[in-house]
Amino acid sequence: MILPVWNESQKRSALILFGIASAGAGISIAIGEIGARFSKIWACLSSFALKNSIPTALLTPLSMIIQCSILIGFISVSVMFMVWWERKVSAHMQNRLGPMFTGGWHGWAQTIADAIKLLLKEDIIPAEANPWVHRLAPIVAFVPAFLCYAALPFGEGLISADLDIGILYIFAISGLSVLGIVMAGWGSGNKYSLLGGLRAAAQSVSYEIPRVLSVVPILMMVGSLKLTSIANVQTGFWQIAGIPVLPKWFIFYPIVGQIAFLIFLISSVAETNRTPFDIAEAESELVAGFHTEYSGMKFSFFFLAEYAYVFLSSGLTTVLFLGGGSGPILPSWSWFLLKSFAVVFLFLWFRWTFPRLRVDRLMEFTWKFLLPWSFVNILITGFILLF
């Protein structure tokens, strides 16, 4: 085997990356399971409230507000990180460096600066636009993304609403976002926006179906729609003569798991409107698609929604196929984040290497290829379960 010869700067960056990784691992081990800590803090708070005779009716809204703020904080921080990360990853795939100056070390503060810039930008409503539809569209696009995070298990005990129909809830709510995109397309009074909105509507509605159907085999095997129980089933290892070979993740289930994973991944990329399925905002065709006429904060809401969905899809992939938070040594939340960001990396990789599909081929692909295969997959699962 030929070992790669590393030069000084490569050695240094490898060392820095190793340092970051080990520091991250150390910190997450030191923090331990966040879920348990949160419940302890919450128990303290409620006992404090009881002692000081604060009515319990206040406590429930308070807990909701705390959970919401944590989620919003998480979404914005992770989106900021993802934007920076995407810029770095794409830059290195393209022989560039990406942001290098803002903040000092490898331009880490670039997204913060960008966010401030977007906040300060003038808010424009075109004369042709329908002002209310135009104003509401970014909110309608973003709010469902945020709502979906409520049912996403970030690790053991880290889920704000452990619904019995968790997976169904996420699919149902995330489907609402397309309304915002259609509103943006229609309300902008721009032909490119209109075309983009229509394309997005057609695409989202079509890809929703194989996406849901690809998950059905998992539901059949687990027998539950609850995301935490789906994640729990996948803990542990398959053993051959007492030696653990493969983790019991659903992706490693023979045939069924791989087909389901591929279909789910492809339709997730399509759902989040990213290359090769970014026909809704195809820059070279439709200028910027449905958000052509948006600027400032309203534009950044679409941006936020897109990246929030990217992480949501990666998180779902992790929970459904990659065993959720299961893993050795590190606490469950850090395993969840690690796996999710690995899937996010896949998304970025697709985006920066693939050309864009044409809109009619896109539809053919989902109706004539993904959909039949997801049915076949369900059939195979049925046979496996029968015999």
């Binding site: 794409s90 795939m93 393209q94 022989n95 560039r96 032909k191 075309l195 290359t275 090769p276 970014d278 026909i279 195809a282 820059e283 070279s284 065709e285 439709l286 200028v287 920066w352 290497t353 693939f354 050309p355 864009r356 599909l357 044409r358 809109v359 009619d360 081929r361």
Partner: protein
Amino acid sequence: MNTEIVKIQGQDSKTEEMILNLGPQHPSTHGVLRVILKMDGEVITSAQPDVGYLHRGTEKLAENRTYPQMLVISDRWDYLAAMSNNLVWSLAVEKLMQIEVPARGQILRVIMVELNRIASHLVFFGTYGIDIGAYTPFLYAFREREKILDLFEEVSGARMTYNYIRIGGVMADLPKDWIGRCRSFLEWMKPRFVEYDTLLTENPIFQDRTKNIGILPQPLAISYGISGPNLRGSSNPFDLRKDAPYCLYDKFNFSIPTGKNGDCWDRYWVRIEEMKESVKIIEQALEMLPEGECNAKVPRIIRPPIGEVYAQIEAPRGMLGIYLVSDGGDKPYRVHVRPPSFINLAVLQEILVGMKVADVIAILGSIDIVLGEVDR
């Protein structure tokens, strides 16, 4: 393709064709081109290219400039291949004055023009990737183009408007060690084609987007006067370097790649293959570069005899010609340019009809126009 307007029975509804102005400010028109598209849903029913946004009247300007001064303006026609423009102007004036350029000058011209062909096709490769939706090939192509521009900068001092090929020869002989640097660039370039193939050419999505899209049949291409890679994509091996050799092109050993169906894929593939052929030509040229003068004796003030002349070369975008009339003075009496981009663009109105909006971009990109040359 005819689009039917479907009348819903019993309802007083009507459908309307949407008119979409593609450009002049649009990311994929490669400059300031406006195409007026009439669409039925996403299907094009009529396309009208509207040019002239970049018109500078260079042909008229020529009448007030001396012959060497016009070289500077010729750089601005096809700004991605300024060497070809310099060459065709110089060839026209030399033909009029019957100046014979020494062999070294001729070979130097071939080297520069072929390097420029690679640079120009690299821009096509990169921007075509962007048109189709792949961003990464663009930066790969520009990495290589950067090296070519560095080579040009060394010989001419400029990176885009070279003004290097002059009447009677070239501006100056090669700088020291330039040949070695050029050779190392060619060695660097060869494995890059494999990279491009794995990144874009062999990508199934890319092939799906380009194969059987925007088919330009050979008779149509000929009747519209299409030339260059667009014509060769339609399986017609017409290339002035072979058919009417200039600058000792008949001494080089190279082949003319041709496509099969005349679709976007063929036009793309022809350009990629042409880059490989150009690498071969430059290698041979560096090999056979003779010693000696590179410039012919040219009078200080150029006053060609009364007469008219037509010179043509194979520019990266097709047959670039100059029609020049001299009245014996130091300024041309009349100049006309045969711009390949302009003539290639005209066929858009035929091949766009019946295509989808997304294909418009793929087809427009595959025609590879430079608006500086379309409008002059």
